[in-house]
Symmetry: C2
Subunit: 701 residues, 2 copies
């Protein structure tokens, strides 16, 4: 009798629960079920603790019945997948993709329309997406809103930035979910293109922590031909709902079956380090689409850039003309303003410096005509991407760089004028091929053209990928700034070696980032792919570059070194001026040493908003590098170097904050010490307020 | 004393009148003046009769003071221009451009902004445009509305179609201005993309006639990087005001000084024939921008087209798939629908027919993949413009055509997806070059992408010109359908050999055009440039092509011949099926004979909405061709052939309606007669109801 009752209760529970799937390790459990009215719902738990309460799924469509209820389950399918794959570049040389899948097939009887939902359950979380099979009853349809819910189980702590259709360049807030509304207004700091849509709207990747110590991250993967998802919070129930980015007419997606949505991702762990170690986003993306990837090389670079950001020099060549018409302008008839940074002499100086110190490339911004009025005018024909200023000798400078084993890095600022960029793209890439550029930093500053489109609307997202694919045809690597935040597409298109899509180091010259900024970014922005954060500012008081700029980098010098490890990117800039590096040549050595591609990464310590300590093994040697970034409260690490090979000996060089250092009053106080270490070594290191440290651990052969 | 009074009154009159300029013959007078509040105004008279009453000029700007009043005259300048220029193709081999100019320079003291207005006064009318010099106080600005008025002097008769942001494919109305409002609703016939903005909005070119016999035409010239102007009527005062086409955000133009508006044109005469003979629109355009024009050749063509328009065959290849994804579709795995028109056998039949009858080209629509779901879905990647259907052998068919001295005409339907077209344009033009195509018919059916843009908004107008310029780089001639109506740009870019931008012959298979349609088009649509009207339908009852189509061409067969003369175009189609031409081989002879490029044109008779009779001299011989089109009331012409060379003899072949012909019940009754003629010959010819006639007059050598 007891057995029967047990069986019955299992049965009833299954009926009530609907379909289930567990992670390979059994810790993550996903349940799918239909409500009585046929609304699809799902739940997620971790080690039997609820992570996502019952949350409904579906779509509101334009001029059509919603795909939100009235569904009947017509099939389900479970499967398991396990493989190791090798990224072209990354935090580790091999990645395990291991999940259990549940595919539910739904039919809306009233309309005869079919919609499937595919769940993939990993040890570190869940991904799901909507799939629309080819069918006569659903061909072309327009999304009015996606109705994916993420029901939180309480008033979690969140590290969030305002939801926006155009920018992610905000400072993070740490607050309870219930406090978002009250903090929104002050969080909406000015940007040249921005559109905040709700007092409780936030962006993904969104990092949260529950009162009982669960770390939860909401994001998306493989955002292709679809608009970006923000999250809108109901701050009474703590339910997030998907909020897509609209186009010029307020529509949120033009879809054609067969098709599918991007993956919606829920990462969860009771250990914050596992959130950083997760490869869930990459794994949910398609494998590499490029046959030949031999031309894709991680890049360490310097550039003619920080001097413009700080206001020491200018992108533009002249101050003579109120407007520039590229069809008619004759720069030879204008008076140079004398501050143009991208001039032959200056660029040669940078090339010399890169060659001397072993950098791969020199970025040069402001090399091409049009910078006098490039900004904020919704100007259509703003740049042609091929014509240099009179004082920039395209051929001679590339020849000179190549003679020294250095490449120039191309710069394509589009000013948001996407049509104009596409019109000139082929010629621009061909010019790069002709002169031997193999990487481009592109930019999308200001409102997007076509008028009414947003940085994160479907058509613009389609543009970014077009640029990446066309670049790949020309064997060009892309580092796109102000583009949509990444969602792991670098797995499929590994020539996408960088993005900005967050508040980068440039803001340190525009008033500063919060000191805890870089303790959050790896949990959020970096989940989707690398960021060209441009660390390495040694002269943290900008007045040493430009006496008129009173900004201060909110970091110690030692922390700037740590960022080369904690902020993973295959593209790393040493952003400060050469003369500033000369002043601190001993510290500069770490930047020269640190690799940009890794065999393995070990996440030693992590707490969002507090500290991150990561150790990484060079992809091409047995050397290790450790980095730490800490918040205003500082952090003391007790490191055990057990990640080192047990049978090898190493020499460690430790770059850390001096005892009296702090970001605000004494940022440049650092110490450098050397010591022999092995797998048994324990190190106690203290990061100052807003500080950090870096260690190079080189094998003694 | 009398002298002094006279002088004083002249002086006073000049103060009151402001600036003036007259046409070279003195008939047209233009007056410019500023109102007391500094509002710019102008007036136009013809032979001392007012044509345009005092009308104000200016702009409403977005987030900026209007450029509408508060102006002070800071300079004026008068000049005269006279030159003869030779179009690459046209109604005549040489065109006189003769005008007197008035340039007024204005300053808005409150804002220190400068605006000039340039007037050109011709014997047949006036053109004016706004010019914005380079200035610090006005750099980038956004037009909320252009405030150009055209104040009519009374309740004129107008031949008008509804103002619209997306289409001109409407049947014309003939009504008093005061009757427009009452007729608007019934005039808004369905189109797959349309946006009527006002119950009294009308399009240009707008043709009018005053009660005392003045013919007035309002239009624009050289529409470049600006949105299209419709006219909105105040039907109490009979004042038209410019109404520009908005973009996705409702803005009407992004301008950057220095720049200028298109020309606003006012043509006027007491003789309707002079409106047809006017070259004012062409003259206001810039001279030819192409260095080499030797590759531009007028074209007479047949095509695989009417059979699809009538529903006999299809553009698409299969009925198997609900949607087509060009990235993945495999047509070899689909079942052909059996109705695909652009198949090898059928195209060869057309090539043979073109070769046999001396046509230059064969248009083939539906040759490329994607036609299954091309239409009305705002589909982005709708065509690739390079991949043929499995049953269209691109190389073999071109080789076959060329072996017979015939070219194929390319077809690029964009479905309004302008970004997609631009992305594939270069490859598409290169494909044309590779296979020997030298002309393309392009199409923009359906709503424009990017979302929210209109067919006539600034960005889309910019696209059309981009396509024309890129085509010129590949020595390709363009015939763009559903694009913006032309404004004389073919002078500057003579590879623009045709446009649609009006209700063409295709509508005769969709229910019909009003019988007087072609008596209006030369006064309106053709003012800006040639139309690919596709005349020559002999089987006027469509059921002979497709038994399921009950439409009837609202024209006699003889009138179809007359249209080859009255509807000037360097690109003329013989649109009917080969088998229908074989049935009426004697009439078909006129289509085979008639040239598409002219030495000279003589406008023998003209009355809008009633009849047009034109004689044209072949550019390459001494032969003349006469055509007539008439309205439902028919028309009897008394022609004196005094345009012929006095010392030459000719044989005329007269193709005219039979006595009992009429468009409705007996359209195919025609007679063909031959007679010797000379410059003294008089001919009495009668066009039936909805009829017309055609005469070839060949020199007897």
């Amino acid at each position: 009798m007891r057995k029967i009752i047990l069986l019955l209760s299992v049965l009833l529970s299954q009926i009530a629960m609907g379909q289930q799937q567990n992670s390979p390790d059994g810790n993550v459990m996903l349940s799918f079920s239909l409500k009585a009215d046929g609304t699809p719902t799902y739940k997620v738990s971790y080690k039997n603790k609820p992570v996502i309460n019952e949350s409904s799924l579906g779509f509101k469509l334009k001029k059509s019945e919603p795909l939100a209820n009235g569904f009947r389950l017509i099939g389900d399918q479970k499967s398991t997948f396990k493989e190791n794959w090798k990224p072209v570049w990354g935090e580790e040389a091999e990645i395990l993709n291991h999940y259990n899948e549940l595919l539910v097939s739904l039919k809306q009887d009233k309309t005869n329309r079919l919609m499937n939902i595919r769940f993939r359950v990993y040890n570190d979380g869940v991904g799901f997406r909507y799939e629309f099979p080819s069918q006569k009853e659903l061909t072309y349809f327009v999304v009015e809103e996606e109705l994916s819910q993420f029901a939180m189980t309480g008033d979690h702590t969140a590290w969030w930035i305002p939801g926006d259709y155009d920018t992610q360049e905000y400072d993070y807030n740490e607050s309870k979910l219930s406090e978002i509304r009250g903090l929104m207004k002050q969080s909406m700091t000015d940007n040249v293109s921005q559109f905040v849509f709700s007092p409780t709207g936030v962006q993904t990747s969104l990092m949260m922590k529950t009162n009982d110590g669960l770390y939860i991250n909401l994001h998306e993967a493989a955002l292709v031909d679809y608009s970006l998802m923000n999250l809108n919070l109901d701050d009474k129930t703590f339910v997030f709902q998907s909020h897509l980015t609209p186009d010029a007419k307020g529509d949120k997606g033009y879809l054609m079956a067969p098709c599918h949505s991007p993956w919606r991702t829920i990462m969860v762990s009771d250990d914050a380090r596992k959130i950083l170690a997760s490869r869930l986003i990459l794994n949910l993306n398609d494998p590499c689409a490029l046959e030949d990837t031999s031309w894709i090389k991680p890049v360490k670079y310097i550039g003619v850039w920080w001097e413009m950001i700080t206001g020491k020099s200018s992108w533009s060549y002249t101050n003579d003309l109120p407007t520039i018409d590229l069809n008619t302008v004759d720069y030879s008839k204008t008076k140079p303003n004398g501050t143009h940074g991208a001039n032959n002499a200056n660029v040669r100086k940078y090339i010399d410096y890169a060659a001397k110190h072993g950098f791969d490339q020199v970025l040069v911004e402001g090399w091409n005509v049009g910078w006098e009025d490039w900004f904020g005018n919704k100007k259509d024909y703003v740049f042609d991407f091929v014509t240099p200023y009179p004082d920039f000798d395209l051929k001679a400078l590339n020849d000179y760089a190549h003679s020294k084993g250095v490449k120039l890095m191309m710069h394509h600022e589009t000013s948001g004028s996407t049509r104009n960029y596409e019109r000139h793209m082929k010629a621009a890439y061909e010019l790069m091929n002709k002169y031997g550029y193999n990487s481009v930093k592109s930019g999308y500053v200001g409102d997007i053209l076509p008028v009414g489109e947003h940085h994160y609307s479907q058509a613009t997202i389609n543009h970014y990928l077009y640029a990446i694919k066309e670049a790949a045809k020309h064997k060009i690597m892309v580092n796109a700034h102000e583009a949509v935040r990444p969602t792991g597409l670098c797995r499929t298109y590994p020539n996408l070696i960088g993005n900005e899509s967050a508040r980068g180091t440039e803001y340190e010259a525009f008033g500063g980032n919060k000191p805890f900024h870089t303790t959050i970014l790896p949990f959020t922005r970096l989940q989707g792919g690398p960021m060209d954060y441009t660390p390495g500012i040694f002269e943290t008081e900008i007045k040493y570059v430009n006496p008129n700029n009173n900004s201060q980098v909110r970091s110690t010098l030692a922390k700037q070194l740590g960022l080369y490890v904690t902020m993973y990117s295959p593209l790393q800039m040493a952003a400060d001026l050469p003369e500033n590096y000369d002043k601190y040549a001993d510290a500069f050595q770490f930047i020269k040493d640190v690799p940009v591609d890794w065999q393995k990464s070990v996440y030693l310590e992590a707490e969002p908003g507090r500290y991150i300590t990561i150790a990484r093994k060079d992809k091409h040697s047995n050397d290790w590098y450790v980095g730490n970034t800490s918040y205003e409260g500082g952090h003391t690490s007790l490191l055990v170097l057990d990640f080192l090979d047990k049978d090898k000996k190493y020499e460690a060089t430790i770059y850390t904050d001096a005892k009296d250092a702090n970001w605000q009053n004494n940022p440049k106080a650092y110490t450098i010490s050397k010591q022999k270490v092995n797998a048994k070594t324990k190190l106690k290191l203290t990061a100052a307020s807003g500080g950090g440290y870096a260690i190079s651990i080189k094998e003694i052969k």
